[in-house]
């Protein structure tokens, strides 16, 4: 009986350790995709827990886009501009790399899961609030062709 108890205890400790290790690993992995010094860098997860973001991000921004376009609400928690602002990465010359490139935050996952990513057919794929020349960034990163990607369905 005592032996069984000890064994169960060991298993429990093991499980807890594994859970911790996985969490740490995931956290480390996520941190790599977040721009240092951005709003997201100070948070444990995105605007929702990471698991929820992975499954639901498209739903969040789909609902948000209706309130933004039709009702003019801009200060929403979910925003595509927010994705780009926090998850963009820069090359050595501090020029932003378009986020839909196949090796970037959005592009990599969409390429892996073979899901068309056509947000950036219309939306800016690099942060370009006033003062930043997006076109130059695109050209210098050599991705003009990528940004001109076909609309949904054309790639099939």
């Amino acid at each position: 009986m005592a032996k069984a108890l000890v064994r169960a205890g060991l298993v429990a400790v093991g499980l807890v350790w594994v859970a911790f290790a996985t969490n740490t690993a995931l956290a480390g992995e996520v941190k790599r995709y977040v721009v240092e010094g951005s709003r997201a860098a100070e948070l444990d997860s995105c605007v929702e827990p990471t698991e929820r973001m992975r499954r639901m991000h498209m739903e969040f921004i789909k609902h948000q886009r209706i309130s933004t376009v039709h009702e003019g609400i801009r200060g929403t928690k979910y925003s595509l501009t927010g994705c780009v602002d926090c998850h963009i990465s820069y090359d050595v010359e501090r020029i932003p790399k378009p986020i839909n490139q196949p090796d970037q935050f959005c592009g990599a996952c969409h390429a892996y899961t073979a899901v068309d990513l056509n947000c950036f057919d219309c939306h800016a794929s690099v942060p370009n609030r006033p003062g930043v020349d997006a076109d130059r960034a695109h050209r210098e990163a050599g991705v003009e062709g990528l940004v001109r990607s076909g609309r949904n369905g054309e790639g099939h």
């Binding site: 886009r65 309130s67 933004t68 376009v69 039709h70 009702e71 003019g72 609400i73 801009r74 200060g75 501009t81 780009v84 057919d121 219309c122 939306h123 800016a124 942060p127 370009n128 609030r129 997006a134 076109d135 130059r136 960034a137 695109h138 050209r139 003009e144 940004v147 001109r148 990607s149 609309r151």
Partner: protein
């Protein structure tokens, strides 16, 4: 019982009266001082409050029909050959990023590229009088483009801005046919280097949206108005048509103005004077 109440009442009243008398006797100087103090405080605080209200903050509540945005264009101030508003509109909305494809002729490109404002020159054949005016989406109260849109992409926002929800637009261009003002353009080619504030892409129709991103961020004017002021012409006034105290309403009240194609009874949000 009734008597007692009455007496009580009288008693209280007389007490209150005497209190007031006392107060006026004592407080003359003090009241004056408090009044001055309040005035000074208001004068110091008020500019701060006003500044705070004007400071741009992204909108967090849905737009309402309490406002209706519009433009008033004084064609007598619009100068022949000036295209400051057109260029400013292009820069603001990323239209200047359009590039002509190599196999396209210059004439075709001029005809097909997206423009939200066109400079129009009118001449009265009998008198020879020439009028210049910028022509853009007229932001009708009853927009024909919205009537014909099969997907609901063309819509009128509660604050009177007629615009396209590009997520829903299928590019059928029915709205372009329906618009009496030739205000809409179709994006024929893939786009690159879009601006964060103005997403646009191939296969959608677009037109002037009264700088909707500026409206939602609480800014005061539109790109074309700013450009016209910078040129020193001040031919365009932007504002709320429903607010009788707004500059645009006051000017509409003051000078004669017309809608283009009044016969269609669309109640346009863009008005012209001097035509």
């Amino acid at each position: 019982m009734g008597k007692a109440t009455e007496m009580n009442d009288k008693h209280t009243r007389s007490e209150a009266e005497s209190g007031a008398l006392k107060a006026s006797a004592i407080d003359g100087g003090r009241r004056g001082f408090i009044g001055v103090a309040a005035g000074v405080t208001a004068a110091m605080v008020a500019p701060g409050v006003i500044l705070h209200a004007v400071a741009a903050a992204p909108r967090s509540q849905p737009v309402t029909s309490d406002v209706r945005w519009g433009l008033l264009i004084d064609t007598t101030k619009c100068v022949d050959g000036c295209s400051a508003c057109v260029e400013a509109c292009g820069r603001e909305n990323g239209l200047d990023l359009q590039v002509k494809s190599e196999d396209e002729s210059e004439a075709r490109w001029d005809h097909q590229k997206s423009v939200w404002i066109r400079k129009v020159k009118l001449q009265d054949n009998q008198t020879g009088r020439v009028t210049n005016l910028p022509m853009m989406c007229q932001h009708c109260e009853h927009p024909p483009c919205v009537d014909v849109c099969p997907t609901g992409a063309s819509f009128k926002r509660a604050d009177g801005i007629v615009m396209v929800d590009r997520h829903l637009c299928i590019g059928c261009r029915y709205c372009m046919m329906a618009c009496p003002y030739k205000a809409r353009s179709f994006i024929h080619q893939g786009t690159s280097g879009q601006l964060t504030r103005a997403p646009r892409g191939k296969g959608c129709v677009e037109s002037c949206n009264l700088c909707v991103h500026r409206r939602d961020n609480g800014e005061e004017s539109t790109a074309c108005v700013d450009a016209c002021v910078a040129e020193g012409h001040e031919a365009i006034v932007f504002g709320d048509l429903k607010d009788p105290a707004s500059p645009i309403s006051r000017k509409l009240n003051e000078i004669p103005s017309r809608q283009i194609r009044e016969d269609l009874v669309l109640n346009t949000g863009v008005r012209y004077s001097g035509v």
